[in-house]
């Protein structure tokens, strides 16, 4: 296991580097001169040149990339142009919003998707199965931003149960923190819940057909023990990967929830930076979100290897 962990860890570092290089290349592909865009077309050539040198844009691409990487290693992602603040600090202030949002959405997806999939597989062919598979398909077909608006209209505007938007840190008021996260998490989690429910159902049905399940039943074990201890435990293995992918969707999808629910997260920061062409902020934001996703995938792979010993020896 530790050997597998080390091998997997060793692929994480080049992946992180590759991601940083790709983002830097993408930033370099932006047509036109960022300084001209920032200062406007009618800005005097002298001030454009001065700003270029200030931002270090007069040096070749690979030099800037190398500098960005060495600074990033020390936790310095550069200066935001618009906010006139360090990128790392800006992200640090917003990171907890995005992570809480993604974790809560994942919790919703798991809490709804897993039981729904298990029940559907056990009741295969009945109306319950039909109801689960149909609603799962419906959830994953609805655009998240539209679910969000409908939830706000119903539960905030009409019923007044939840706030329309905003974010309260957990340290300030845990109850308010939860209240502010319910609607965004549900709007993001439902689609993944649909995907997870379908996946769990398929995975469970495959396992339930195995011989050892018949053996377990023949031994006279109670059905619930057969289902949970024997079937679910093995059916969960492929589901772990799916959960990792879902988490990536949540990290990305947070952009939409943060916009709709007016939450100060990293996703909305990237979106605002895109609209205002604040390149250091875009670069840093995308890097941090992607690095988080890579880290989650690393954890998922380790979990997977722990759950399924066959993987470790491939």
């Amino acid at each position: 296991m530790s050997q597998f962990a080390i091998r997997r860890l060793l692929t994480f570092i080049p992946a992180l580097l590759a991601v940083a290089v790709v983002i830097a290349l993408l930033m370099d592909m932006i047509p036109g001169d960022p300084v001209t865009i920032m200062l406007g077309l009618d800005a005097p050539g002298e001030s454009i040149n001065r700003r270029r040198i200030e931002l270090g844009l007069d040096r070749p691409m690979h030099v800037r990339l190398l500098e960005w990487l060495t600074n990033a290693l020390r936790g310095d992602l550069g200066q935001s142009i618009i906010l006139e603040k360090s990128v790392s600090q800006t992200i640090a202030e917003r990171y907890s919003v995005t992570i809480s949002l993604a974790l809560f959405a994942l919790a919703v997806a798991l809490a709804v998707g897993l039981p729904a999939g298990i029940v559907a597989s056990v009741k295969q062919g009945t109306w319950i199965d039909w109801a689960v598979t149909t609603s799962a398909l419906l959830w994953l077909s609805l655009p998240g931003f539209w679910i969000a608006l409908n939830l706000i209209f119903l539960f905030s505007v009409r019923l007044g149960w939840f706030p329309v938007g905003g974010f309260v840190p957990v340290t300030e008021n845990p109850l308010d923190f939860l209240k502010h996260l319910v609607l965004p998490a549900v709007s993001m989690g439902l689609g993944s819940a649909g995907i997870l429910a379908r996946f769990t159902r398929t995975s469970m049905l495959e396992v339930l057909r195995m011989d050892y399940i018949g053996t377990a039943r023949a031994k006279g074990l109670r059905e619930i023990v057969v289902l949970l201890r024997h079937a679910l435990k093995n059916a969960l293995i492929p589901i772990i990967t799916m959960v990792g992918i879902s988490f990536g969707d949540m990290l990305g999808g947070a952009v939409i929830s943060e916009l709709v629910f007016n939450m100060p997260g990293v996703g909305r920061m990237v979106l605002d930076a895109v609209k205002r062409r604040d390149y250091p902020l875009i670069q840093g934001g995308i890097f941090v979100v992607t690095a988080t996703y890579l880290m989650v995938n690393l954890l998922v792979d380790l979990l997977y290897a722990w759950a399924d010993p066959q993987i470790r020896f491939e």
Partner: protein, 299 residues
């Protein structure tokens, strides 16, 4: 019953036998016709396609025409979906807006079929190319989908073509993995080795012997790609990093309605509903196709 046994017989040679022969495709079509979810999906999708492509048949109003006297009106016989803050008719905006979704999804599904087939077969067939191509695909998949799409559109500029580039980039890796998977599983089979032993070249083996096996899985995957593309395109336009603002799109209409949600929830409602119906229709059809093309995948 006779037809069923005929199906497993050897492939007939005479023309009359061939006409009666139950090819796998014909069997699949028959299964699809008996599949309620596939049929419902096809019906929804067909109805939505007719509504969007035939938009001028259902409304005389121009989706971009401003009307100062009809700002923010509730649904009425004249404006069945109401009007937006510039007095533009929302029914026509939804009907015409869906065209962009259909256009984007069709192009992305077609182009990624090509990119997926090319990259997937190169990777599955030539072991030397495999790790390079797959590492690049992994790299693309390392980014959260919507973040990468936003970044690409941000860099290239908000235009229809750039939305397409962004979507093709984020969709291609998984499609090429589907093709690669089938090629890897098929290339050591006897009929392929037989083909090679009689001197068939690499291209002939890939196109005549390997890719036909990938068609069912690819068809199912690309149906879902159609739906995914509509959702991502809707999301990008909702976020304001989509096509040029003067083009009506479903995502942009939902976004416009956001600030009037309290008093006029219908502005966002119908446009979002149109996206939901399109995606639901295509996903139902995808499930139907999956069950019909590969009964083993149905559990």
């Amino acid at each position: 019953m006779i037809r069923e046994t005929h199906a497993v017989d050897k492939i007939p040679t005479s023309l009359s036998d061939r006409l009666r022969w139950d090819s796998p495709w014909r069997q699949a079509l028959r299964r699809l016709r008996r599949n309620p979810s596939g049929l419902i999906g096809l019906t929804i999708l067909a109805a939505m396609t007719i509504a969007h492509l035939g938009a001028p048949l259902f409304t005389d109003l121009d989706p971009t025409a401003l009307d100062k006297r009809a700002i923010l009106q509730a649904p009425s016989p004249e404006h069945p979906f109401g009007t937006d803050r510039y007095g533009r008719d929302l029914l026509s905006r939804v009907l015409y807006g869906g065209r962009i979704s259909l256009l984007v999804a069709s192009i992305v599904a077609l182009v990624t079929t090509c990119t997926g087939v090319i990259l997937g077969s190169l990777s599955g067939y030539f072991p030397r190319l495999d790790s390079t191509i797959m590492r690049i695909m992994d790299l693309v998949m390392a980014f959260p989908t919507i973040i990468l799409a936003i970044a690409i559109v941000a860099i290239l500029g908000p235009q229809l073509l750039n939305i397409l580039i962004a979507l093709v980039t984020v969709v291609t890796p998984r499609t090429s993995r589907v093709v690669r998977g089938v090629i890897l599983a098929t290339k050591e089979k006897e009929f392929v080795l037989a083909g090679r032993s009689v001197g068939a070249g690499d291209l002939r083996i890939i196109f005549r012997h390997l890719l036909p096996s990938a068609v069912p899985a690819l068809l199912v995957r690309q149906t879902y790609v159609f739906g995914i593309s509509i959702l991502i395109e809707g999301g990008l336009n909702f976020l304001g990093v989509g096509v040029q603002p003067e083009i009506p799109t479903l995502g942009a209409v939902v976004a416009e309605g956001r600030q009037f949600l309290r008093e006029m929830p219908w502005i966002s409602f119908y446009a979002g509903m149109a996206i939901a119906l399109l995606v639901l229709g295509i996903n139902l059809l995808g499930d139907g196709l999956r069950d019909a093309l590969d009964p083993r995948m149905k559990v």
